[in-house]
Symmetry: C2
Subunit: 131 residues, 2 copies
């Protein structure tokens, strides 16, 4: 598929992805995709990343329910970075229960958590057999 | 400086940076910083990236004049990605003369340029001796 080949995948076959909320405009998170993740994202209409720590596809929201429905996929001028514009289920992208993973702001030489926790993360994740 | 050490720099000493416009909310670009670039950004109040292609600090706007004045610097939950919120001089971040580098949208298996060119790039760059 030539549109996948148009992305300049890095030496590990990955490209950085930046995800923005279509409603609030907030930058929600930065993650990674490989070819398979991008193809799955397009096929399924929801954000599918490549988890570098788990070395597998990561369907965002698969445990928390905080799925990202994809409205737009964009590519930057030099072809090595992707942007997703998404509808964020629950309004929470971060595993800490905050809207955005970028909740720490540099102030006077310290990274201060400046955004509220919208949901207790202890209530966000359940064991696979605890439905 | 401990706040610089709080960033999880990758094996090359870099971290991805995502830059957003404080006025329009547009995601302007994705680039990279090393420790020196982040320190310079804080010290100078303008975006200074690490150019991987030129292997040197890159003061955004040094040739085009399209400087990015930094309003906020944020760090994500796992500490390996940075966000800048900036005031974009000229309203143009991309070397193609567009507001954002993410001007191509995936539509029917093609990356289509969907954003207008705000300024002819031929007028954006001048030779160092042509002031």
């Amino acid at each position: 598929m030539s549109w996948i080949d148009a992305v300049l995948w890095n030496a590990e076959g990955l490209a950085p992805v930046v995800t923005q909320d279509v409603v609030t405009g907030r930058l929600l998170m930065q993650a990674w995709m490989n070819r398979e993740a991008l193809a799955a994202t397009v096929a399924e209409g929801r954000a599918v990343y490549w988890s570098r720590s788990r070395s597998r596809l990561w369907r965002k929201g698969e445990e928390s329910g905080h799925v990202q429905q994809v409205r737009e996929i964009r590519l930057d001028c030099d072809g090595d970075a992707l942007q997703l514009i998404v509808e964020q289920t629950g309004g929470i992208a971060c595993h800490t229960g905050r809207e955005s993973c970028f909740y720490r702001r540099l102030e006077q030489a310290q990274w201060l958590a400046v955004d509220p926790v919208a949901r207790d993360p202890a209530t966000m994740y359940r064991a696979p057999d605890s439905k």
